[in-house]
């Protein structure tokens, strides 16, 4: 952006054509061509977003002007590096409605979710003293997740159960891809200690009714852990207002660099939680016998940090805030409508997930009858259209729908209506290319032969 735009606090005003053109000019990569000169149509932002100049500049500026070890050293560069690092933390906190001390840098969202799971393991082993007992688990305790989770918010909880003897339970997904909120009362009970759930599915694009989940968790005294990877880049997120206990999101999906992500934790919880990765930078007093630990967030930031990436993630948060998450969300709701219409217009293509734009992202996963997702992706790629194919790290959700893989078109703030048209044209060519008629009588080739045994 050449000039910051006024944040839009209310209303559903979408990005104007001029604003969208200005946004696209901020992302140099979007101008490149692929596969023999075709303009790139990047519909894989759910996997990773492209980066605006301001993020690249912030990282480079840090290395060119401010690079030094943070939180140590008394020289001017160390002061400036520390200030840039902490200012970035503040910008990320401001974007998601958190206090600055509630944001812990992690290498990615997977690491952030594992910190919570392993801290609970350490508490179970007696680490962290009396204050940490609230995190300890025992056989008979339960952890609840949902069938829509990315593996990153499922496998760490499976492993925590295996280490502690707790039992994993889950909330199902309905035929539209929405979470079965009606199952909350039966699945989340007095035995539930953690309720971990996604804010938005990376497959169906469905947004979760976080309020219903938090209310039920509070009724039974369970901790809530929100996977906010897919929501933070696309919709306004206010973690204090949502009332969750923990949240995780990655930098690279929200226009920031790879190698950095954030763990949010309510201050009193972070203060009570034992550390996970230990070593330098996260301590107070170290003797040969024992160590006392720094307060959060430093307690969870052992060793040298990814300072330049954190500065880049801060710049990304500022960029999103200046453009305004309400306007971005409105633009992406328009794109969701266009994507859904485009897919619906092609014979033999069906969507996994909501087909209305209420509470959903512009992330549309679909199956082309008779054509494997890999082959769909190849034909789209030949037209310059980049989509994700496979199970998108959500095998249980795919199994729920009886398919092994899907193709996924996922938009972002820089996606245009014209790009959706290119995608639609290419999608229409898929079935004919593989010799299939427009009357889909072919059975999907995609049904797993190993029903749920893998």
């Amino acid at each position: 952006m050449t000039a910051p735009l006024e944040p839009r606090a209310t209303g559903s005003a979408t990005l104007s054509a001029a604003e969208l053109a200005a946004v696209r000019a901020d992302f140099p990569l979007l101008a490149r061509t692929v596969r023999g000169g075709r303009p790139l149509v990047y519909l894989d932002s759910g996997a990773t977003s492209q980066k605006p100049d301001v993020v690249l500049d912030a990282e480079q500026d840090f290395y060119l002007q401010r690079n030094a070890a943070v939180h140590r050293g008394a020289h001017q560069l160390a002061e400036e590096a520390t200030e840039a690092f902490e200012q970035a933390r503040g910008e990320v906190a401001a974007l998601v409605g958190a206090d600055v001390g509630e944001i812990v840098w992690q290498t990615n969202a997977t690491a952030a979710l594992n910190v919570v799971a392993y801290a609970m393991s350490n508490a179970t082993a007696g680490r962290g003293g009396a204050a940490a007992r609230r995190f300890a688990l025992a056989p008979g305790d339960e952890i609840a997740v949902t069938e829509a989770e990315h593996h990153a918010n499922l496998v760490p909880w499976q492993e925590l159960c295996a280490r502690t003897g707790a039992t994993l339970r889950w909330i199902g997904v309905d035929d539209d891809g929405r979470l079965r909120t009606d199952e909350l009362t039966s699945v989340v009970t007095e035995r539930t200690r953690v309720l971990a759930f996604t804010h938005a599915s990376n497959v169906t694009g469905a947004l979760t009714d976080v309020g219903a989940f938090v209310r039920r968790a509070r009724e039974v005294g369970a901790l809530t852990v929100l996977d906010a990877c897919q929501s933070v880049p696309h919709v306004p997120v206010d973690l204090h207002a949502l009332g969750v206990d923990f949240a995780a999101f990655s930098g690279h999906k929200m226009l920031g660099p790879t190698g950095v992500g954030a763990l949010y934790g309510r201050r009193e919880l972070l203060e009570a939680m034992p550390p996970v990765v230990t070593g330098g930078s996260m301590v107070e007093v170290v003797t040969m016998e024992s160590t006392t630990f720094a307060p959060p967030p430093q307690r969870f930031e052992a060793g040298s940090q990814m300072v330049a990436q954190a500065v880049g993630m801060g710049a990304a948060a500022r960029y999103l805030a200046e453009l305004g998450m309400t306007a971005i969300a409105a633009h992406e709701t328009d794109l969701a409508r266009l994507l859904l219409d485009a897919v619906a217009a092609v014979p033999g293509v069906r969507v996994l997930g909501p087909t209305d734009t209420r509470d959903r992202l512009a992330t549309v996963s679909f199956v082309v009858d008779g054509v494997h997702a890999h082959d769909v992706g190849q034909v789209l790629d030949d037209a310059g259209v980049a989509v994700r194919v496979g199970h998108h790290c959500a095998q249980p959700l795919h199994r729920r729908f009886g398919v092994a893989s899907t193709s996924r078109a996922s938009a972002a703030l820089y996606t245009t209506a014209e790009e959706v048209e290119v995608f639609a044209d290419a999608l229409r060519r898929v079935r004919p290319f593989f010799g299939l008629t427009d009357t889909p009588t072919d059975a999907p080739t995609d049904a797993p032969t190993e029903g749920g045994t893998r």
């Binding site: 494997h372 890999h374 082959d375 190849q378 496979g390 095998q395 092994a404 593989f434 995609d446 032969t449």
Partner: protein, 174 residues
């Protein structure tokens, strides 16, 4: 001149994907291998059926398999099962090596003698231009090699011996 994508999806590949050979598991196999490509969920369960050893050593009587996946992976198993049936295990192993070399040839193909030996499998030459698809074409060949090793008909290489024993379910390209 056809586009790289048309070179990828040769007519022969599309036909084999639609009407695969050897599909359907048969009884009496010497060994079975289950291979998965974890990035896309493609899978193949392949059985190798051996004939009594003759002058050329052990001969592959037939290959039977079941699987699901993209047209490249399914067609590749189909073409492979046609190619190796009736051949000595040593010949099948050589064909596998040649096919792996073809997949490393970046779409340039191999020498004439090698391509003659590969026959229909040369239709996969264009796959080697697309690094993400090479695994698809190799899935069936990996299953065949694994099944032959399990049947005691082929010898694992040093690196294969180093891998932990995972029975028939070890995953391809983890």
């Amino acid at each position: 001149m056809s586009s790289p994508m048309e070179q990828l999806y040769q007519q022969l590949i599309l036909e084999h994907a639609k009407t695969p050979h050897g599909k359907g598991l048969a009884d009496g196999a010497a060994a079975e291998s289950f291979q998965v490509n974890p990035t896309c969920g493609d899978e193949v369960r392949l059985r190798v059926h051996l004939a009594p050893a003759g002058a050329d050593g052990t001969v592959i009587d037939k290959v039977s398999w079941e699987g699901q996946g993209c047209s490249i992976s399914q067609a590749s198993v189909s073409v492979m099962s046609e190619l190796v049936t009736g051949n000595a295990v040593t010949t099948a192993e050589e064909l596998g090596e040649t096919f792996r070399a073809l997949m490393g040839a970046r779409g340039q193909g191999l020498d004439e003698a090698s391509e003659d030996r590969l026959g229909d499998a040369t239709a996969f030459t264009g796959v080697a231009r697309y690094p993400a698809r090479i695994k698809c074409a190799l899935l069936g060949w990996s299953a065949l090699r694994d099944a032959l090793i399990q049947a005691g008909a082929a010898t694992p290489t040093t690196t294969e011996q180093d891998q932990p024993a995972t029975g028939t379910t070890h995953e391809e390209n983890r």
